[in-house]
Amino acid sequence: MSGNCTRTSGRPLSTQHSVLSTSGYPDESMTIRDHIRFTINGREKSVGGRAAFLTLANYLREQGATGTKVVCAEGDCGACSVLVRHGSGDFMVVNSCIQSLLQLDGCSIVTVEGIADGDSLHPVQQSMIDHYGSQCGYCTPGFVVAMAGLTEAGQPLDEQAVKDGLTGNLCRCTGYEPIVKAALATNAAAAPRLRDRYPGIEDDHRSVLIEADGRAFFAPISLGEAIRFKRDHATATILQGGTDVGVWVNKRDFNAPAMLSLAKINELGEISFEESRIVVGANVSLTEFEAAVRDTIPELHGILRIFGSPQIKNAGTLVGNIANGSPIADTLPYLFVAGAELELAGAGGIRRVPVERFYRGYKTFDLNPDEIITRVVVPVVTTKADRVLRLYKVSRRTDLDISAFTAAILLRVDEGRIAAAKIAYGGVAPVVMRMPKLEAFLAGKRLEPETFEEAGAIARGEVSPISDVRGSREYRLQLCENILQKFYFDAFTEPVPIEIAGFRVGQAFQPVPDGPAGKPVLHQGRP
């Protein structure tokens, strides 16, 4: 199928196989730059050498732009949020604490200092003032930036859009309610468009190679160059969105001697729909992927909706999620049961590996030192007449949290019986795992609650999770068991409706704005 999506190539995969042979190497002196170029609040910057290895947040603060705050330095609080626009794309909010300057070649960046136009405040700023959206103010720059980003589309915001848009920002003072009100009271249609004030940077189609202190960073414009670099630097770390790598840099003193970015290889930014599958290039962000599966794979969309935060999804990629290889990577259970495949490109050419077979153990992969993951082929699998799919993520906090447990359950059903089952669990072993005993048990069983209760015991026996900071072994074992019953009720029974003060739970609810004078008017009338 083909659907609407930000970037559609339509190019069949088969024509793209001749990586090393045809792309050729243009004269390097013509095409290689030793610095990166970007703009900050419209001012042009070029940075090379040692400074290019700084995080954007540290760079900004060293430059005296201290409106951008660093709190956690690991993408989990949003205090460091800035807007970034690649080329002529839209402004997207990202965490500047885990963005390396290296990733920002050709970007236009807007910080909190650039949101107001001189003395004239942006409507979100005025609204935050009017609605007491700031108390201590430390989170406020991040919120203002994220909110300004939300208004860029010029569309009115509803409560759910506001909450989803601000999930990546923590505030310890306000209880968020004043911030939600501030966002809802902003007239997005009347907000000035930052993309008009801060134009994008034109791409000069040159590769970037920066070396300093024995470290090298290479961002070629062709896949051929990338593979050659990877062949010559087997230990090179590929830097994609950096939402994993950036955290290691800040928190584990990670210091790769060689880093490779694929960001300038345009073809890897493509996402294409083919017959019942979606082909996702290595540069495709999780946000783009989320949009692509909204209508095609709603179950997966539900998982992506609660994946990290907008900041994380705007920077992070599907390929990064797969290549990082965490047993609690949220996209993996689906990719396992749907039978997704990876396209790997190396000096020897291209090969395909099923995602499921890519993992050999904790963070060890079927990936040669010279190989790069170029694409993911994601089959479209969704609930249909004879097929039921459910995906689960259990975490301490529902939003912006790493999973304690994940599951994908896919059943083929036939006249009240289970014809076949495919089940993958995450968070219960060093890698995401298929559950063969459980699948075998379920095959042929009747679709009734008892089946799933009994299956729970099988599931429990099939795994041996560990206790860690996200949950005890017993908790995880219980989830392995319970998720099957939850699945049964979710998939085959009607939920009992919940009504709260006239609001159906799950439906967005609009607070009444403040009254004219004195005390704010409340959601429900005052006597």
């Binding site: 201290t66 004043p178 928190k251 906090r397 900071v469 009720f489 709260i500």
Partner: protein, 782 residues
């Protein structure tokens, strides 16, 4: 129009939203500035066998390394128990305790120095739980007791008795701005310290004491904090003292800014409590006796643990009159960082213990929990003395309880919840109410004083300085409003200055919700005196300008920026001209105000007296939804109703209510400190430590307060609002307990806070197993 009782924006709102607001670590580095950090003990309890800093000395960029011997004094503490050491000597008592202070040119050098210093520690047996400390009788300070009536007899004759252990966990303040300070050396050995502290005077005292300086040589300045919540009440002294040590010794500016991870690891948080309770009651739900033994985990040093315990003890009665009651309070010593102030300051731990008992009584008797609360509520004329002897005056609690029941439609929704739970196989709902009566004032009497400096300039603009620190709570905005209202001018003419020990000496911490009450009152005192002088001037000026008018100060009014004689209101003199005239007549245009809260008396040894000026009250109803299979819970609806007197700034007060409620929510639901067996904190960043997120807002969230203008004891009949609403989140805990009661069979469900999804799932599983064995009707269906 007066400047108070109005929604004027937060004083710094514009600077917040533009990023202009400067916090300590945003200040540009000054010439020669050094970075300060410290090597800490990686062992929870042990004896230092060897400490060798020499290998670190030659590292490029390392400028100096200091140990305890470099301090004039090492021992200090915010209470009389001066048991704390800034830098460990021979024994280490918690992971995170400073051992070596490092001064360096850059971060890489700091890192290298930490790696190079050799620190060998012989481990000693650590204490990590309240039970262990109790077994060893390792307590901090004396065990205190509040008692009234005859508890033994009341229990002996009780119709029903329930008992148990109620636990609440430790939480991190998680202010977004981590601890930070910058120290500048000055002439004559003086120091200027910029500190993100709630208590500049204490920073001044501690720095002066540890460095052997007289107090007048240390100036501490606090522009604003990126959140404090108690965490910077006395633990801001440590980083400030380390920066001051470096600046003092090396005569170079020195900056320290903890990373969030380090901050969470080395500073203390809210005290975990583990309380033994027993409650006797009649079949009608009237409580006849309560016996509660409160135990807190104080950590390694005393810090404020005794005062926190005193507040827990004086809040265990909460909103209820209990004829026979005995409350003891014991602070246990463990090998964790010293626990410290955190919004509520023990109040939440005391109140939740009582609310849990009431919830259990209602479950036991199958009676409406709001009704039980009303039956036991403090009376207006009688049954209105607390166990420690203070009269609950101006009591709005009965009204709040009645109103919240109606507003939240409590009874109808209780029935709807039961109906849903009978039908739904996938989810459980729970609904509950809770109340709070929170005493305002520091329990320590002498802390209830404040001073303020008000300067009026020749153009009519005004500067105010007080000891209050602005940390988001809006104290500067309120003080600005009060000053403008007292002087009869527009709030735009008033600026509240950075807090500085140079302008306001010997001030108390901005804490105990009383920052605006006390500092606002001191500022009002100064304004009244300036105003009195200006009234004299105005009387003379107006008389001189108006025919047939004799000077008459008693008929002069200053309002809306004009002074006029009420007898001839058409002739006015503009504020600015009045100020100018006063100056020309050599009348002082500056004043220092003072305020000491009247009528307080508290005997700490006996735990009795009237420690509070008044009580701030509230009630809440919350409803939760729990996934039966995963244990995940969310709040569907919360209704909060408070009595906060006459609000000086309704917009700011509302934000205090919503924000405090959310902090309480985190404390009781998802915020959990998990430790390795070594005592090392594992949840030291927001990746693993989960404070509430925007998506955790209740689906329906009603926040309101009643009209009450009778609190004339306090500044402009207002009431403090910073801490009390935090305790309204106890309604969420009770709602979770209520939900569990639908599956716990005949037993009363027990759950420790925080009620994480894991904790809830474990309880659900336990009850499912038990009830599968002996099926019977659910306790709550009756």
């Amino acid at each position: 129009m007066t400047a108070v009782e109005r929604k004027i924006p937060h004083d710094s709102a514009r600077e917040h939203v533009t990023g202009e607001a400067v916090y300590v670590d945003d200040m540009p580095p000054s010439r020669g500035e050094l970075i300060v950090d410290f090597l800490w003990s990686p062992v929870a309890h042990g004896r230092i066998r060897r400490l060798d800093v020499e290998p670190a000395r030659n590292i490029a960029g390392v400028v100096a390394l200091f140990t305890h011997g470099d301090l004039a004094h090492n021992r200090f503490g915010p209470s009389q128990i001066q048991d704390e050491l800034l830098i460990a000597e021979d024994e280490v008592r918690f992971i995170g305790q400073p051992v070596v202070v490092i001064a360096a040119e850059n971060r890489e050098a700091v890192r290298a120095a930490k790696a190079a210093i050799r620190l060998d520690i012989d481990p000693l047996p650590p204490v990590f739980t309240i039970d262990e400390a109790k077994a060893r009788r390792d307590f901090i300070g004396p065990v205190r007791k509040i008692a009234r009536g005859d508890v033994a007899t009341a229990f002996a004759h009780a119709e029903h008795v329930l008992q148990g252990v109620f636990k609440t966990g430790g939480v991190d303040q998680f202010y977004l701005e981590s601890q930070a300070a910058i120290a500048w050396p000055g002439e004559k050995g003086a120091l200027t310290v910029h500190s993100s502290t709630q208590n500049p005077t204490e920073v001044q005292d501690v720095v002066a004491h540890l460095l052997g300086l007289p107090a007048h040589k240390v100036v501490v300045i606090t522009k604003r904090l990126g959140g404090g919540f108690g965490g910077k009440e006395c633990q801001a002294t440590h980083p400030a003292a380390m920066a001051a040590l470096v600046a003092h010794k090396l005569k170079r500016p020195a900056r320290i800014a903890y990373s969030k991870d380090d901050d969470m690891r080395v500073t203390g948080g809210r005290h975990p409590f583990q309380n033994d309770y027993r409650v006797a009651f009649t079949s009608e739900g009237i409580i006849t006796a309560v016996k509660v033994d409160l135990y807190s985990d104080g950590g390694a040093f005393a810090d404020l643990s005794q005062a926190v315990m005193a507040r827990a003890m004086t809040h265990t009665d909460n909103a209820y009159w209990i004829p026979n009651i005995e409350i003891t309070g014991t602070v246990c010593r463990t090998n964790f960082p010293p626990n410290t102030a955190f919004r509520g300051f023990g109040g939440p731990q005391g109140v939740s213990t009582m609310e849990n008992m009431i919830e259990e009584i209602s479950l036991f008797l199958h009676k409406d929990p709001l009704e039980i609360r009303m039956r036991n509520c403090y009376g207006i004329e009688e049954r209105n003395t607390t166990p420690y002897g203070q009269i609950v005056a101006n009591n709005q609690l009965p009204r709040l309880m009645r109103d919240i029941g109606e507003r939240a439609d409590f009874r109808r929704r209780t029935a709807a919840v039961a109906d849903f739970n009978a039908k739904s196989k996938t989810h459980l709902r729970g609904i509950a109410c809770s109340a709070v009566k929170f005493g305002i004032s520091f329990n320590t009497k002498f802390l209830n004083q404040a001073n303020a400096l008000v300067n009026v300039y020749l153009d009519g603009t005004v500067q105010v300085s007080t000891g209050a620190t602005e940390m988001g709570q809006g104290v500067n905005t309120k003080i600005k409003q009060v000053v403008a209202a007292e002087l009869g001018i527009d709030a735009g003419l008033v600026i509240v200055m950075a807090t500085s020990t140079e302008k306001n000496n010997n001030t108390s911490a901005t804490a105990a919700s009383s920052g605006a009450d006390m500092n606002g009152s001191a500022a009002a005192d100064a304004c009244r005196r300036i105003r009195a002088r200006l009234v004299e001037v105005a009387a003379r000026e107006l008389a001189a300008r108006t025919e047939d008018l004799q000077p008459s100060p008693s008929t002069i009014a200053i309002a809306n920026g004009m002074a006029f004689d009420r007898r001839r209101p058409q002739h006015g003199i503009a504020w600015r001209d009045l100020v100018r005239a006063a100056y020309l007549q050599r009348v002082s245009l500056g004043e220092r105000g003072f305020y000491a809260t009247a009528g307080l008396d508290w005997n700490a040894e006996k735990s009795s007296g009237s420690p509070f000026l008044y009580f701030t009250n509230g009630c809440a109803v919350s409803e939760v939804l729990i996934d039966r299979f995963t244990g995940s819970a969310r709040v569907l609806r919360s209704d909060l109703l408070m009595d906060i007197g006459k609000s000086i700034n309704p917009g700011i007060d509302r934000g205090q209510i919503t924000g405090a409620f959310f902090q309480g929510l985190g404390w009781l639901t998802n915020e959990e400190k998990r430790y390795a067996p070594t005592g090392e904190l594992l949840t030291y960043s927001p990746t693993t430590y989960k404070v509430p997120n925007i998506q955790d807002l209740p689906q329906v969230f009603n926040v309101d307060w009643i009209e009450n203008d009778t609190n004339t004891l306090n500044l402009r009949s207002s009431k403090a609002v910073g801490e009390p609403p935090l305790l309204l989140a106890i309604s969420v805990y009770c709602a979770i307990k209520n939900a569990l009661s639908f599956v716990s069979g005949s037993e009363i469900p027990k759950i420790d806070a925080p009620c994480t999804g894991e904790e809830i799932l474990m309880r659900l599983t336990e009850y499912a197993r038990k009830n599968a064995r002996k099926p019977q009707e659910s306790a709550a269906s009756a």
